[in-house]
Amino acid sequence: MSEQSDENLVDASRTGDNGAYAVLAKKYYKSVFIVCLGMLGSIHDAEDVAQETMLKGLLNIKDLRDSSQFGSWIIKIARNHCISLIRGKKRANKVITQKSKPQEQMLIQYEGLQQAIEKLPEESRLPLVMYYFGSESVREVAEKLNLSPSGVYQRLKTATKELHRLLIKQGDVI
């Protein structure tokens, strides 16, 4: 089956074809999820926000002016959603974070690593997550984050160093 272009899928979605939007959602879900994971640090929060972002995209697809820009548009929605969630959490001044949902069995062994990733500052966590979890090259990460490749390298370097420090502090040295 030939792959339909984003423009065609967006145009079809505008006319109420949810099947076409489902194809778009499937195509960009991972990118959205990775950005959410990078910004929020928690897999469960990232899942919720990615899902809500896709549904928000469906409700507002008519607002998208350039059909070819669906990818960057949906990522922008996800980032704004994450920012408002982070602000909301800060405003609530929660000393204790929400009880996390039970971890998937296969991810339990990485709990220490996940906690360390959550504690990384967002500016270095996002490139790290995009690089390792999104399997994106430094150039791709740089383009998406509007940074220079050397800037991305520097952030990855800082993130690697900080992650090591946090793992030692947690007592999760490998």
């Binding site: 099947g19 489902a22 994971l37 809500e52 204790i96 990485y110 996940q114």
Partner: protein, 253 residues
């Protein structure tokens, strides 16, 4: 950490990210061949990178089902099924308050329409307003009360959790302190027992030494007595021999 090691650990980070030049790689290899600390740092970072890749792989494995679930939810909304709306709006739409409010408004609207149709008189706006207020108040009061109770309960739970964390910290600190005190006391007791054992040992050695000394002295005394006895026998022998020699010439003469 020496200045050299600091520079090398920076190079190790570049190496881990795959951006270290061939020339620097050689310098780094020469250094880690002789520096165990940097060698260990490099190994740990390599292991952490491997773990990150593994974790990312596992997360990626769960991506397909999530995508399918998402696509299915969107497609099914075509068939008239309810779609999950964003959290805030979804919460409002699904809340009891909104349902009751809608029900109350519908009831009032029906009542108002019936009144308009059945009564020739124009509607009393003030009366209608009071009716709406009363109806809304009676229908929402209980729910608002319940909602407030839930909010208070949530706040209380959060406060309890905060207290729990403080209590846990305090207990942990107390436990550490108790362990330290216990360790100090045990060490002191252990030292006293060791001292006692050493004193006993010294006493035993001293007693054994006294016994040995006594036995040696006795052995010397026995040897001396034997020597004196032998000497007497020897002298007596000599005397009797001399006496025999003196007697013999007289007899010959």
């Amino acid at each position: 950490m020496s200045e050299d090691c600091e520079k090398m650990q920076d190079k190790i980070l570049d190496y881990i990210l795959g951006t270290l030049s061939q020339e620097d790689c050689e310098v780094l290899n020469e250094h880690i061949a002789v520096c165990s600390k940097c060698r260990q740092y490099m190994q740990v970072l390599k292991d952490e990178k491997r773990l990150l890749r593994e974790f990312a792989g596992k997360v990626d494995m769960g991506m397909k089902p999530r995508e399918e679930k998402m696509a299915k939810a969107i497609t099914s909304s075509n068939q008239g099924k309810q779609i999950r709306l964003p959290l805030t709006w979804r919460t409002f739409v699904q809340s009891k308050i909104s349902k009751l409010a809608v029900a109350a408004v519908l009831l009032i609207a029906v009542g108002y329409s019936a009144g308009r149709l059945l009564s020739p008189r124009p509607p009393d706006v003030r009366q209608l307003q009071t009716a709406i207020e009363t109806s809304l108040k009676s229908s929402l009061e209980q729910t608002i009360h319940k909602s407030l109770l839930e909010q208070v309960s949530r706040d209380r739970e959060l406060a309890l959790e905060r207290h729990y964390v403080r209590l846990k910290d305090e207990l942990t600190r107390q436990l550490h302190q108790n362990i330290s005190e216990f360790a100090v006391q045990t060490l002191a007791a252990s030292r006293a027992v060791t001292d006692q054992r050493l004193a006993d040992l010294i006493q035993l050695i001293e007693a054994a030494r006294t016994v040995d000394h006594y036995q040696i002295r006795m052995a010397f005394e026995r040897m001396e007595s034997d020597r004196l006895q032998d000497k007497n026998h020897f002298e007596n022998g000599l005397v009797s021999l001399a006496a025999q020699n003196l007697v013999r010439p007289d007899n010959q003469q």
